[in-house]
């Protein structure tokens, strides 16, 4: 298997150009899929026989929650790649993931809380999923905090990479411990998505939202990553050429 593409992607000017192209290709499908998902989920799909109309928030909550975890993993993996192979591009990708991931986590928490109101009667119950999301938010904030506390960018890259790797190893442990902690109190999690069968009219918009959110994340991340790569790049020559090409 040829690793040439990997090393090419690691080259900052190459990454800068390719990421720029990809953003355009990803943004439009994200918008279209998102539109389909939202309209399909919020308007067209039938009401849930158990939860009525209130369940519709799952179309935003579920993708946000899944993405918050996926982004953290992506962040940790690219930070690890940056640390081991000393690739600035990988560090730039990790740095770009952080705020986006934290935002998705906040979105998941907010929508989860809104979902809880009609279901439990309160905006917050220490439901295992939401509690895990909250701890994940703290992990994100710690990562962002550490990055901003270290002025030297390469050192901030390396230190936060260690933190991200330690964090990602901890995430399953934290999740399991929270689930275990919660099981003793039997707080019914109304956010069950593992029902035996979900009608297609519900499932398709949901999958569409998942895909849309993922594409949106990649588009946003690549946009930020291009900026982060510029911050880390030392030899300015390719920057001048690349910017000239863009304005042309």
């Amino acid at each position: 298997m040829s690793w040439v593409w990997f090393h090419k992607l690691g080259s900052p000017p190459h990454f800068y150009r390719i990421a720029g192209r990809w953003v355009r290709w990803l943004a439009w499908p994200a918008v279209l899929l998102g539109a389909y998902g939202l309209i399909g989920g919020l308007a067209i799909a039938p009401a849930d026989y158990q939860q009525g109309e209130g369940y519709r928030i799952v179309y935003v909550h579920a993708p946000a929650a899944w993405l918050s975890l996926m982004i953290y993993t992506t962040m940790a993996v690219s930070a690890a790649v940056g640390l081991i192979w000393r690739m600035n591009v990988a560090h730039a990708v990790a740095a770009s993931c952080a705020t986006i991931g934290a935002s998705f986590t906040v979105l998941a928490l907010a929508t989860g809380s809104l979902w809880g109101k009609p279901m439990w009667g309160t905006y917050w119950e220490w439901d295992p999923r939401l509690t895990s999301e909250l701890l994940l938010l703290f992990l994100y904030l710690g990562y962002i905090g550490l990055r901003s506390a270290i002025e030297d960018i390469p050192r901030a890259d390396r230190a936060s990479a260690v933190l991200a790797i330690v964090g990602v190893v901890n995430v399953p442990i934290i999740h399991y411990s929270v689930v275990w902690w919660n099981s003793l109190h039997q707080v019914a999690s109304v956010m069950k998505l593992d029902r035996p069968s979900m009608p297609t009219s519900m499932l398709l918009p949901l999958l569409s939202m998942f895909l849309a959110a993922t594409l949106l994340f990649v588009a946003l991340m690549l946009t930020r990553a291009r900026g982060e790569v510029l911050r880390r790049e030392r030899t300015a020559r390719w920057i001048g050429e690349a910017l000239q090409q863009e304005s042309a």
Partner: protein, 227 residues
């Protein structure tokens, strides 16, 4: 030129740190005093009825232990980082993770073990029955070790970081939540005189995992920190 074995190097480091702690005395008592103060706050914040305090005893003990170990982390690397002996440790040729494990062991001995030894006193004051002692001590023993190990990673990352503040707490506390969950649960089960092996085994598993992996992460963090 015979080279010192890692075992002998660790022994020298442990002896040195213990000697230094004896000479500095007061500083190393502070985490224990903090623990006592914090656990005293809980009854003051509630009411002095022992029957009610018994319910929150696990929470008070473990939150107090967690916060105390957080405070104690300052004593782990700060001075060695400041006087240049930490970088000599990195240059010693002995695996850094192993040396940091030795340093963390001494740190735990001086800041974690005292908490465990004071716990029977504190828990009795909070209404816990004597029968709960073995389970509670076992949980605190394992948990305090895990907290020291995980905290060392945070302490390493915060070396030479100027705008520190509460960042260390933000880094370490989320990583410490599994220890808190299983430890507090084991303690409360012990107080309720239920079988507490499940959380205790899980806590032991976490501690073993921490003992093997945390020093490696701490070594990486320290190397970055002394740049």
């Amino acid at each position: 030129m015979d080279i010192t074995s890692p075992g002998r190097a660790a022994a020298l480091l442990i002896r040195r740190d213990l000697r230094l702690a004896m000479r500095k005395g007061g500083e190393w008592l502070q985490p224990l005093l903090f623990f006592l103060v914090v656990t005293t706050l809980f009854p003051l914040a509630l009411d002095p009825q022992l029957s009610r305090l018994r319910d929150i005893a696990p929470a008070a003990l473990w939150v107090g232990a967690l916060l105390s170990s957080l405070l104690a982390l300052d004593l782990l690397f700060r001075e060695d980082g400041a006087d240049g002996t930490l970088e000599q440790l990195v240059l010693s040729g002995v695996p850094l993770a192993w040396l940091l494990l030795a340093k963390t062991a001494v740190h735990w001995l001086l800041t974690g073990l005292p908490l465990v030894l004071m716990a029977p006193l504190v828990s009795t004051a909070l209404g816990a029955p004597y029968a709960a002692m073995p389970g509670m001590l076992a949980a605190l023993l394992l948990g305090s070790v895990a907290l020291s190990l995980v905290g060392a990673i945070g302490a390493g990352l915060m070396l030479n970081v100027r705008r520190g503040g509460a960042l260390l707490a933000l880094l370490v506390l989320p990583l410490a939540t599994p220890v808190l969950i299983f430890g507090a649960r084991a303690t409360s089960m012990a107080i309720a005189q239920q079988a507490y092996d499940a959380p205790l085994y899980l806590l032991a598993a976490i501690t073993v995992l921490a003992a093997t992996l945390a020093p490696l992460a701490a070594a990486a963090a320290v190397r970055i920190g002394i740049e």
